[in-house]
Protein backbone atom coordinates (compact mmCIF):
# COMPACT_ATOMS: atom_id res chain seq x y z
CA UNK A 1 0.00 0.00 0.00
CA UNK A 2 2.82 2.37 0.91
CA UNK A 3 4.72 1.96 -2.34
CA UNK A 4 1.51 2.16 -4.39
CA UNK A 5 0.51 5.38 -2.61
CA UNK A 6 4.01 6.84 -2.98
CA UNK A 7 3.80 6.25 -6.73
CA UNK A 8 0.81 8.61 -7.01
CA UNK A 9 2.71 11.59 -5.56
CA UNK A 10 4.19 13.81 -8.28
CA UNK A 11 7.48 15.62 -7.92
CA UNK A 12 6.18 19.20 -7.76
CA UNK A 13 3.10 18.47 -5.68
CA UNK A 14 2.06 19.95 -2.37
CA UNK A 15 1.00 17.05 -0.18
CA UNK A 16 -0.87 17.14 3.10
CA UNK A 17 0.42 14.30 5.28
CA UNK A 18 0.12 12.97 8.81
CA UNK A 19 2.27 10.65 10.89
CA UNK A 20 2.44 6.91 10.30
CA UNK A 21 1.74 5.44 6.87
CA UNK A 22 0.94 8.71 5.03
CA UNK A 23 4.19 10.24 6.23
CA UNK A 24 6.10 7.09 5.29
CA UNK A 25 4.57 7.05 1.81
CA UNK A 26 5.54 10.69 1.29
CA UNK A 27 9.08 10.06 2.56
CA UNK A 28 9.35 7.09 0.21
CA UNK A 29 8.29 9.28 -2.74
CA UNK A 30 10.68 12.03 -1.66
CA UNK A 31 13.53 9.53 -1.55
CA UNK A 32 12.85 8.25 -5.07
CA UNK A 33 10.95 9.97 -7.89
CA UNK A 34 9.70 13.09 -6.06
CA UNK A 35 12.58 14.86 -4.28
CA UNK A 36 10.84 18.25 -4.66
CA UNK A 37 7.62 17.16 -2.91
CA UNK A 38 6.39 19.85 -0.49
CA UNK A 39 5.12 18.30 2.72
CA UNK A 40 2.36 20.14 4.59
CA UNK A 41 1.25 19.17 8.10
CA UNK A 42 -1.96 20.45 9.75
CA UNK A 43 0.19 21.61 12.65
CA UNK A 44 1.64 24.34 10.41
CA UNK A 45 4.93 22.75 9.31
CA UNK A 46 5.39 23.48 5.61
CA UNK A 47 8.19 22.05 3.46
CA UNK A 48 9.47 19.80 6.25
CA UNK A 49 12.64 17.73 5.88
CA UNK A 50 12.34 15.65 9.07
CA UNK A 51 15.62 14.26 10.41
CA UNK A 52 13.74 11.32 11.95
CA UNK A 53 10.16 10.02 11.69
CA UNK A 54 7.89 12.47 13.58
CA UNK A 55 6.08 11.26 16.74
CA UNK A 56 3.12 13.53 16.02
CA UNK A 57 2.35 16.35 13.60
CA UNK A 58 3.60 19.03 16.01
CA UNK A 59 6.98 17.31 16.38
CA UNK A 60 9.90 19.81 16.46
CA UNK A 61 11.65 17.72 13.80
CA UNK A 62 9.01 18.90 11.31
CA UNK A 63 9.72 22.56 12.10
CA UNK A 64 13.54 22.53 12.38
CA UNK A 65 14.66 23.39 8.86
CA UNK A 66 11.11 23.72 7.46
CA UNK A 67 10.32 26.27 4.76
CA UNK A 68 7.60 27.92 6.79
CA UNK A 69 5.77 27.71 10.10
CA UNK A 70 2.06 28.60 9.92
CA UNK A 71 -0.76 28.51 12.46
CA UNK A 72 -3.32 25.71 12.16
CA UNK A 73 -5.81 28.40 11.10
CA UNK A 74 -3.55 29.55 8.25
CA UNK A 75 -3.07 25.97 7.04
CA UNK A 76 -6.85 25.53 6.90
CA UNK A 77 -7.83 28.88 5.45
CA UNK A 78 -5.01 29.46 2.96
CA UNK A 79 -3.75 26.01 2.01
CA UNK A 80 -6.63 23.58 2.50
CA UNK A 81 -9.71 25.73 1.96
CA UNK A 82 -7.78 27.83 -0.55
CA UNK A 83 -7.48 24.71 -2.72
CA UNK A 84 -3.67 24.71 -2.66
CA UNK A 85 -3.24 21.05 -1.68
CA UNK A 86 -2.64 18.70 -4.63
CA UNK A 87 -2.90 15.44 -2.73
CA UNK A 88 -4.12 15.02 0.83
CA UNK A 89 -3.95 11.85 2.90
CA UNK A 90 -7.12 11.18 4.88
CA UNK A 91 -8.14 8.33 7.14
CA UNK A 92 -11.55 6.68 7.45
CA UNK A 93 -13.15 3.55 8.85
CA UNK A 94 -15.70 3.35 6.02
CA UNK A 95 -15.98 4.53 2.44
CA UNK A 96 -19.06 4.11 0.26
CA UNK A 97 -20.19 4.01 -3.36
CA UNK A 98 -20.27 7.80 -3.63
CA UNK A 99 -16.80 8.19 -2.15
CA UNK A 100 -18.15 9.53 1.13
CA UNK A 101 -16.04 8.84 4.23
CA UNK A 102 -16.96 7.93 7.78
CA UNK A 103 -14.42 8.56 10.51
CA UNK A 104 -16.97 9.54 13.17
CA UNK A 105 -19.03 6.68 14.51
CA UNK A 106 -20.32 3.11 14.05
CA UNK A 107 -23.88 2.73 15.35
CA UNK A 108 -26.16 5.58 16.45
CA UNK A 109 -24.38 8.93 16.86
CA UNK A 110 -25.85 9.65 20.31
CA UNK A 111 -25.16 6.15 21.71
CA UNK A 112 -22.28 4.86 19.62
CA UNK A 113 -21.30 1.24 19.26
CA UNK A 114 -17.79 2.39 18.36
CA UNK A 115 -16.74 5.98 18.74
CA UNK A 116 -14.15 6.87 16.05
CA UNK A 117 -11.79 9.89 16.09
CA UNK A 118 -14.11 12.28 14.22
CA UNK A 119 -13.48 14.56 11.28
CA UNK A 120 -10.39 16.41 12.31
CA UNK A 121 -9.61 18.18 9.06
CA UNK A 122 -11.03 15.45 6.80
CA UNK A 123 -14.30 17.27 6.08
CA UNK A 124 -12.52 20.37 4.73
CA UNK A 125 -9.73 18.36 3.08
CA UNK A 126 -12.11 16.19 1.04
CA UNK A 127 -14.09 19.31 0.07
CA UNK A 128 -11.14 21.38 -1.16
CA UNK A 129 -8.06 19.26 -1.96
CA UNK A 130 -7.61 18.42 -5.62
CA UNK A 131 -7.18 14.79 -4.66
CA UNK A 132 -7.80 12.93 -1.41
CA UNK A 133 -5.91 9.70 -0.90
CA UNK A 134 -7.15 7.07 1.52
CA UNK A 135 -5.03 4.08 2.56
CA UNK A 136 -7.26 1.18 3.55
CA UNK A 137 -7.04 -2.60 3.49
CA UNK A 138 -9.73 -4.16 1.27
CA UNK A 139 -12.15 -5.48 3.90
CA UNK A 140 -15.91 -5.89 3.71
CA UNK A 141 -16.71 -3.79 6.76
CA UNK A 142 -14.78 -0.86 5.30
CA UNK A 143 -16.65 -0.73 1.99
CA UNK A 144 -20.42 -0.59 2.65
CA UNK A 145 -22.83 0.70 -0.04
CA UNK A 146 -23.62 3.58 2.32
CA UNK A 147 -21.49 4.83 5.18
CA UNK A 148 -22.97 4.76 8.69
CA UNK A 149 -22.21 8.49 9.10
CA UNK A 150 -21.15 11.08 6.50
CA UNK A 151 -18.05 12.74 7.95
CA UNK A 152 -16.75 13.95 4.58
CA UNK A 153 -18.52 14.16 1.23
CA UNK A 154 -16.49 14.87 -1.91
CA UNK A 155 -17.75 17.64 -4.21
CA UNK A 156 -18.00 16.82 -7.90
CA UNK A 157 -14.64 18.40 -8.83
CA UNK A 158 -12.61 16.35 -6.32
CA UNK A 159 -10.76 13.12 -7.00
CA UNK A 160 -10.83 10.34 -4.40
CA UNK A 161 -8.20 7.59 -4.56
CA UNK A 162 -8.53 4.58 -2.29
CA UNK A 163 -5.29 2.64 -2.22
CA UNK A 164 -5.88 -0.83 -0.80
CA UNK A 165 -3.69 -3.90 -0.40
CA UNK A 166 -5.17 -5.45 -3.58
CA UNK A 167 -6.29 -2.66 -5.87
CA UNK A 168 -6.86 1.06 -6.26
CA UNK A 169 -10.41 2.38 -6.33
CA UNK A 170 -11.13 5.83 -7.66
CA UNK A 171 -13.90 8.35 -7.83
CA UNK A 172 -12.76 10.41 -10.79
CA UNK A 173 -13.13 14.21 -10.83
CA UNK A 174 -16.61 14.84 -12.19
CA UNK A 175 -17.50 11.16 -11.69
CA UNK A 176 -20.54 9.95 -9.82
CA UNK A 177 -19.26 6.86 -8.02
CA UNK A 178 -16.24 4.87 -6.91
CA UNK A 179 -14.85 2.52 -9.59
CA UNK A 180 -12.18 -0.15 -9.82
CA UNK A 181 -9.22 1.63 -11.41
CA UNK A 182 -6.02 -0.38 -10.80
CA UNK A 183 -5.56 -4.08 -10.06
CA UNK A 184 -2.37 -5.40 -8.50
CA UNK A 185 -0.68 -8.45 -10.00
CA UNK A 186 -2.37 -11.70 -8.97
CA UNK A 187 -5.68 -10.06 -8.02
CA UNK A 188 -8.84 -10.58 -10.13
CA UNK A 189 -11.89 -8.35 -10.52
CA UNK A 190 -13.98 -11.02 -8.81
CA UNK A 191 -11.73 -10.87 -5.70
CA UNK A 192 -12.55 -7.20 -5.30
CA UNK A 193 -16.25 -7.61 -6.16
CA UNK A 194 -16.57 -10.19 -3.41
CA UNK A 195 -15.52 -7.65 -0.78
CA UNK A 196 -17.04 -4.33 -1.87
CA UNK A 197 -20.62 -3.82 -0.65
CA UNK A 198 -22.17 -2.57 -3.90
CA UNK A 199 -22.05 -3.64 -7.58
CA UNK A 200 -18.65 -2.14 -8.31
CA UNK A 201 -18.24 -0.50 -11.69
CA UNK A 202 -15.01 -1.01 -13.60
CA UNK A 203 -13.32 2.14 -14.83
CA UNK A 204 -12.78 2.39 -18.61
CA UNK A 205 -9.17 3.14 -17.64
CA UNK A 206 -8.72 -0.07 -15.59
CA UNK A 207 -5.12 -1.28 -15.74
CA UNK A 208 -2.88 -3.78 -14.05
CA UNK A 209 -0.48 -2.17 -11.66
CA UNK A 210 2.90 -3.41 -10.59
CA UNK A 211 3.69 -2.60 -7.01
CA UNK A 212 7.36 -2.85 -6.16
CA UNK A 213 8.53 -4.34 -2.88
CA UNK A 214 8.18 -1.55 -0.35
CA UNK A 215 8.42 -1.22 3.39
CA UNK A 216 5.15 -3.12 3.92
CA UNK A 217 4.94 -5.32 0.83
Amino acid sequence: MLTAAAGFLGNNETVLVGVGMPGQAATLAQGSHAPELTLVYESGAIGSRPARPPLSIGDPTLFAGALQSLSVADVFTFLIEGGRIDTAFVGAAEIDRLGRLNSTVIGPYESPKVRLPGSGGACEIVQYAKRSLLLSPLQERRFPAEVNFVTSAPPERAEILIVTDQCVLRRAPGGDEVELWRLYEGVEVADVDAVVGWPLRTSPELERMEVGGGIDD
Partner: protein, 308 residues
Protein backbone atom coordinates in the same frame (compact mmCIF):
# COMPACT_ATOMS: atom_id res chain seq x y z
CA UNK B 1 -2.79 43.87 32.66
CA UNK B 2 -1.00 40.63 33.32
CA UNK B 3 -0.03 39.79 36.89
CA UNK B 4 2.66 37.39 38.07
CA UNK B 5 1.29 34.45 39.98
CA UNK B 6 2.15 30.89 40.80
CA UNK B 7 0.40 28.32 38.65
CA UNK B 8 -1.68 27.19 41.61
CA UNK B 9 -2.74 30.78 42.42
CA UNK B 10 -3.64 31.52 38.80
CA UNK B 11 -5.74 28.36 38.54
CA UNK B 12 -7.47 28.96 41.89
CA UNK B 13 -8.33 32.52 40.96
CA UNK B 14 -9.29 32.22 37.29
CA UNK B 15 -10.66 28.71 36.66
CA UNK B 16 -14.26 28.77 37.87
CA UNK B 17 -16.40 25.68 38.41
CA UNK B 18 -18.97 25.36 35.61
CA UNK B 19 -16.96 27.54 33.19
CA UNK B 20 -15.56 26.77 29.75
CA UNK B 21 -11.87 26.33 29.20
CA UNK B 22 -9.48 25.97 26.26
CA UNK B 23 -6.00 24.57 27.02
CA UNK B 24 -3.95 25.18 23.88
CA UNK B 25 -1.23 23.21 22.06
CA UNK B 26 -1.56 21.27 18.81
CA UNK B 27 0.47 18.26 20.04
CA UNK B 28 3.26 20.82 20.86
CA UNK B 29 3.34 23.01 24.01
CA UNK B 30 0.30 21.40 25.65
CA UNK B 31 -0.44 22.85 29.08
CA UNK B 32 -0.27 19.64 31.12
CA UNK B 33 0.89 21.38 34.32
CA UNK B 34 -2.22 23.59 34.34
CA UNK B 35 -4.48 20.61 33.66
CA UNK B 36 -2.97 18.72 36.58
CA UNK B 37 -3.41 21.74 38.83
CA UNK B 38 -7.11 21.95 37.91
CA UNK B 39 -7.51 18.24 38.69
CA UNK B 40 -5.63 18.69 41.98
CA UNK B 41 -7.87 21.60 42.99
CA UNK B 42 -10.98 19.56 41.97
CA UNK B 43 -12.52 22.40 39.94
CA UNK B 44 -15.50 20.63 38.40
CA UNK B 45 -18.34 20.82 35.90
CA UNK B 46 -16.02 22.30 33.27
CA UNK B 47 -16.65 22.52 29.54
CA UNK B 48 -13.37 21.52 27.90
CA UNK B 49 -12.73 22.89 24.41
CA UNK B 50 -9.88 21.79 22.13
CA UNK B 51 -9.44 20.86 18.47
CA UNK B 52 -7.65 17.72 19.64
CA UNK B 53 -8.48 16.68 23.22
CA UNK B 54 -5.24 14.66 23.34
CA UNK B 55 -3.99 12.94 26.50
CA UNK B 56 -4.39 16.18 28.46
CA UNK B 57 -8.22 16.13 28.28
CA UNK B 58 -8.29 12.34 28.52
CA UNK B 59 -6.72 12.79 31.95
CA UNK B 60 -9.11 15.59 32.95
CA UNK B 61 -12.12 13.53 31.88
CA UNK B 62 -10.76 10.47 33.68
CA UNK B 63 -10.44 12.72 36.75
CA UNK B 64 -14.10 13.72 36.51
CA UNK B 65 -13.61 17.50 36.33
CA UNK B 66 -15.50 17.94 33.03
CA UNK B 67 -19.19 17.66 32.22
CA UNK B 68 -18.90 18.59 28.56
CA UNK B 69 -16.34 18.21 25.76
CA UNK B 70 -16.10 20.37 22.62
CA UNK B 71 -13.72 18.94 20.02
CA UNK B 72 -12.97 18.08 16.41
CA UNK B 73 -10.57 15.12 16.58
CA UNK B 74 -10.28 12.45 19.26
CA UNK B 75 -6.96 10.68 19.26
CA UNK B 76 -3.78 9.97 21.18
CA UNK B 77 -1.51 11.47 18.50
CA UNK B 78 0.79 8.95 16.91
CA UNK B 79 -0.32 6.30 19.41
CA UNK B 80 -4.03 5.46 19.02
CA UNK B 81 -7.18 5.92 21.06
CA UNK B 82 -8.15 8.13 23.97
CA UNK B 83 -9.68 5.48 26.20
CA UNK B 84 -11.09 7.64 29.01
CA UNK B 85 -12.95 9.94 26.62
CA UNK B 86 -14.29 7.03 24.57
CA UNK B 87 -15.49 5.30 27.73
CA UNK B 88 -17.21 8.50 28.84
CA UNK B 89 -18.89 9.00 25.44
CA UNK B 90 -19.83 5.38 24.85
CA UNK B 91 -21.11 5.14 28.44
CA UNK B 92 -23.13 8.37 28.15
CA UNK B 93 -21.24 9.92 31.07
CA UNK B 94 -20.40 13.17 29.34
CA UNK B 95 -22.06 15.58 26.94
CA UNK B 96 -20.18 16.55 23.84
CA UNK B 97 -20.34 18.94 20.92
CA UNK B 98 -18.41 17.95 17.85
CA UNK B 99 -16.93 20.10 15.09
CA UNK B 100 -14.53 19.69 12.19
CA UNK B 101 -11.08 21.35 12.49
CA UNK B 102 -11.89 23.97 9.89
CA UNK B 103 -15.24 24.92 11.39
CA UNK B 104 -14.02 24.99 15.01
CA UNK B 105 -11.21 27.31 13.93
CA UNK B 106 -13.79 29.44 12.10
CA UNK B 107 -15.95 29.49 15.26
CA UNK B 108 -13.00 30.68 17.39
CA UNK B 109 -12.11 33.36 14.84
CA UNK B 110 -15.74 34.50 14.74
CA UNK B 111 -15.65 34.90 18.53
CA UNK B 112 -12.29 36.67 18.36
CA UNK B 113 -13.57 39.19 15.81
CA UNK B 114 -17.09 39.70 17.25
CA UNK B 115 -18.88 38.18 14.26
CA UNK B 116 -22.35 36.60 14.70
CA UNK B 117 -21.34 33.54 12.64
CA UNK B 118 -18.89 32.37 9.99
CA UNK B 119 -19.48 30.47 6.73
CA UNK B 120 -18.22 26.88 6.78
CA UNK B 121 -19.17 25.54 3.38
CA UNK B 122 -17.68 22.06 3.69
CA UNK B 123 -19.77 21.15 6.75
CA UNK B 124 -23.00 21.53 4.76
CA UNK B 125 -22.65 18.12 3.12
CA UNK B 126 -22.00 16.18 6.35
CA UNK B 127 -24.14 14.42 8.96
CA UNK B 128 -22.48 16.49 11.68
CA UNK B 129 -24.86 19.34 10.70
CA UNK B 130 -27.70 17.43 12.38
CA UNK B 131 -25.90 16.85 15.65
CA UNK B 132 -24.34 20.18 16.53
CA UNK B 133 -26.72 23.09 17.28
CA UNK B 134 -23.80 25.43 16.59
CA UNK B 135 -24.33 24.81 12.85
CA UNK B 136 -27.10 26.28 10.70
CA UNK B 137 -27.63 27.20 7.06
CA UNK B 138 -28.34 30.64 5.64
CA UNK B 139 -29.07 31.93 2.18
CA UNK B 140 -25.97 33.48 0.59
CA UNK B 141 -27.00 37.13 -0.01
CA UNK B 142 -24.75 37.19 -3.09
CA UNK B 143 -26.62 34.42 -4.87
CA UNK B 144 -24.48 31.38 -4.01
CA UNK B 145 -27.42 29.37 -2.62
CA UNK B 146 -27.63 27.83 0.84
CA UNK B 147 -24.45 27.81 2.88
CA UNK B 148 -23.58 26.27 6.24
CA UNK B 149 -22.51 28.64 9.00
CA UNK B 150 -21.11 28.18 12.48
CA UNK B 151 -21.87 30.16 15.64
CA UNK B 152 -18.92 31.66 17.55
CA UNK B 153 -17.18 29.55 20.21
CA UNK B 154 -16.03 31.81 23.02
CA UNK B 155 -14.21 30.05 25.88
CA UNK B 156 -14.44 31.76 29.28
CA UNK B 157 -10.72 31.12 29.71
CA UNK B 158 -7.76 30.03 27.60
CA UNK B 159 -4.66 28.56 29.24
CA UNK B 160 -1.65 28.90 26.99
CA UNK B 161 1.77 27.33 27.55
CA UNK B 162 4.63 29.03 25.69
CA UNK B 163 8.41 29.11 25.46
CA UNK B 164 8.81 32.66 26.73
CA UNK B 165 6.88 35.60 28.06
CA UNK B 166 8.03 39.00 29.36
CA UNK B 167 7.07 40.58 32.68
CA UNK B 168 4.01 42.20 31.01
CA UNK B 169 2.61 39.01 29.50
CA UNK B 170 3.81 39.48 25.92
CA UNK B 171 4.33 36.03 24.45
CA UNK B 172 6.78 34.51 21.97
CA UNK B 173 6.46 31.04 20.51
CA UNK B 174 8.47 29.14 17.89
CA UNK B 175 7.90 25.79 16.25
CA UNK B 176 4.22 24.91 15.94
CA UNK B 177 2.08 27.86 17.10
CA UNK B 178 -0.93 25.60 16.54
CA UNK B 179 -4.21 26.92 17.93
CA UNK B 180 -2.68 29.33 20.47
CA UNK B 181 -3.58 32.67 18.90
CA UNK B 182 -7.11 31.68 17.84
CA UNK B 183 -8.01 30.23 21.25
CA UNK B 184 -6.47 33.10 23.20
CA UNK B 185 -8.12 35.79 21.07
CA UNK B 186 -11.51 34.03 21.27
CA UNK B 187 -11.42 33.61 25.06
CA UNK B 188 -12.62 36.18 27.59
CA UNK B 189 -9.53 35.71 29.74
CA UNK B 190 -6.06 34.20 29.28
CA UNK B 191 -3.55 32.57 31.62
CA UNK B 192 -0.01 32.21 30.25
CA UNK B 193 2.35 29.61 31.65
CA UNK B 194 5.90 29.83 30.33
CA UNK B 195 9.18 27.98 30.24
CA UNK B 196 11.02 31.29 30.78
CA UNK B 197 10.22 34.85 31.79
CA UNK B 198 12.50 37.21 29.86
CA UNK B 199 13.05 40.93 29.67
CA UNK B 200 10.73 43.00 27.47
CA UNK B 201 13.77 44.19 25.47
CA UNK B 202 14.43 40.65 24.31
CA UNK B 203 10.94 40.41 22.80
CA UNK B 204 11.21 43.91 21.31
CA UNK B 205 14.35 42.84 19.45
CA UNK B 206 12.27 40.33 17.46
CA UNK B 207 8.63 41.52 17.18
CA UNK B 208 7.66 39.17 14.33
CA UNK B 209 7.91 36.25 16.73
CA UNK B 210 5.46 37.76 19.25
CA UNK B 211 2.18 35.85 19.19
CA UNK B 212 0.13 37.42 22.01
CA UNK B 213 0.12 40.76 23.78
CA UNK B 214 0.17 41.19 27.55
CA UNK B 215 -2.87 43.47 27.27
CA UNK B 216 -4.94 40.33 26.61
CA UNK B 217 -3.38 38.28 29.41
CA UNK B 218 -4.71 38.04 32.97
CA UNK B 219 -1.97 36.07 34.71
CA UNK B 220 1.57 34.84 34.00
CA UNK B 221 3.06 31.84 35.76
CA UNK B 222 6.61 30.59 35.38
CA UNK B 223 6.26 26.86 34.73
CA UNK B 224 9.33 25.08 33.35
CA UNK B 225 8.64 21.68 31.75
CA UNK B 226 4.92 22.40 32.01
CA UNK B 227 4.23 20.82 28.62
CA UNK B 228 5.70 17.46 29.65
CA UNK B 229 4.90 14.83 28.36
CA UNK B 230 4.41 16.91 25.16
CA UNK B 231 7.22 18.89 23.51
CA UNK B 232 8.61 22.42 23.57
CA UNK B 233 10.60 23.23 20.40
CA UNK B 234 14.29 23.77 21.13
CA UNK B 235 13.80 22.86 24.80
CA UNK B 236 12.65 19.28 25.26
CA UNK B 237 11.39 16.28 23.31
CA UNK B 238 8.08 14.56 23.73
CA UNK B 239 8.00 11.76 26.29
CA UNK B 240 6.64 9.26 23.83
CA UNK B 241 7.12 6.45 26.30
CA UNK B 242 4.60 8.18 28.54
CA UNK B 243 2.08 8.62 25.69
CA UNK B 244 2.23 4.86 25.15
CA UNK B 245 2.09 4.10 28.88
CA UNK B 246 -0.98 6.31 29.24
CA UNK B 247 -2.69 4.34 26.45
CA UNK B 248 -1.99 1.19 28.47
CA UNK B 249 -2.88 2.58 31.94
CA UNK B 250 -6.02 4.35 30.80
CA UNK B 251 -7.43 1.27 29.09
CA UNK B 252 -9.26 0.71 32.40
CA UNK B 253 -10.90 3.37 34.60
CA UNK B 254 -8.98 1.97 37.59
CA UNK B 255 -5.66 2.28 35.78
CA UNK B 256 -6.32 5.91 34.89
CA UNK B 257 -7.39 6.68 38.47
CA UNK B 258 -4.30 5.02 39.91
CA UNK B 259 -2.09 7.25 37.75
CA UNK B 260 -3.97 10.40 38.77
CA UNK B 261 -3.83 9.43 42.46
CA UNK B 262 -0.10 8.86 42.24
CA UNK B 263 1.09 11.69 39.99
CA UNK B 264 -1.51 14.42 40.46
CA UNK B 265 -3.39 14.11 43.78
CA UNK B 266 -0.39 12.47 45.41
CA UNK B 267 1.95 15.38 44.64
CA UNK B 268 1.63 18.92 45.93
CA UNK B 269 2.54 20.66 42.67
CA UNK B 270 4.56 20.74 39.47
CA UNK B 271 7.92 20.99 41.26
CA UNK B 272 7.28 17.68 42.99
CA UNK B 273 6.29 16.19 39.62
CA UNK B 274 9.52 17.42 38.01
CA UNK B 275 11.50 16.08 40.96
CA UNK B 276 9.81 12.69 40.62
CA UNK B 277 10.69 12.54 36.90
CA UNK B 278 14.04 14.33 37.12
CA UNK B 279 16.13 11.74 35.32
CA UNK B 280 13.65 11.31 32.49
CA UNK B 281 13.23 15.07 32.06
CA UNK B 282 16.99 15.53 31.86
CA UNK B 283 17.07 12.96 29.08
CA UNK B 284 14.29 14.74 27.19
CA UNK B 285 16.06 18.09 27.54
CA UNK B 286 19.04 16.93 25.49
CA UNK B 287 18.14 18.80 22.29
CA UNK B 288 20.62 19.87 19.62
CA UNK B 289 21.66 23.41 18.72
CA UNK B 290 19.86 24.88 15.74
CA UNK B 291 19.57 28.66 16.24
CA UNK B 292 17.37 30.78 13.97
CA UNK B 293 19.01 33.30 11.64
CA UNK B 294 19.08 36.95 12.59
CA UNK B 295 17.72 39.86 10.56
CA UNK B 296 18.31 43.60 10.74
CA UNK B 297 15.53 45.81 12.15
CA UNK B 298 17.77 48.90 11.91
CA UNK B 299 16.38 52.20 10.62
CA UNK B 300 17.90 55.38 9.22
CA UNK B 301 17.43 57.75 12.18
CA UNK B 302 18.56 60.78 10.19
CA UNK B 303 15.50 60.63 7.91
CA UNK B 304 13.10 61.90 10.54
CA UNK B 305 11.26 64.98 9.37
CA UNK B 306 8.49 64.18 6.90
CA UNK B 307 7.72 67.96 6.59
CA UNK B 308 11.18 68.68 5.16
Amino acid sequence: MAERATLSEAVAELVEPGSSLYITGFTHLIGFAAAHEIIRQKIEDLTLIRLTPDVVYDQMIAAGVASRLVFSYLGNPGVGNLHAIRRAIEGGEIEWTEYTHGSLIAALRAAASNLPFAPVEAVGATDLMKHNPGYATVEDPFGGGEIAVVAPVRPDLAIVHVQRVDQHGNVQVWGSTGDIREAAMAADRVIVTAEEIVDEAELRSDPNRTLLLGANVEAIALAPMAAHPSYAQGMYARDNRFYREWAEMSSTAEGARAYLDREVHGLDGREAYCELHRERLNELKRVGDQPAGTVNFGINAAIADVQE
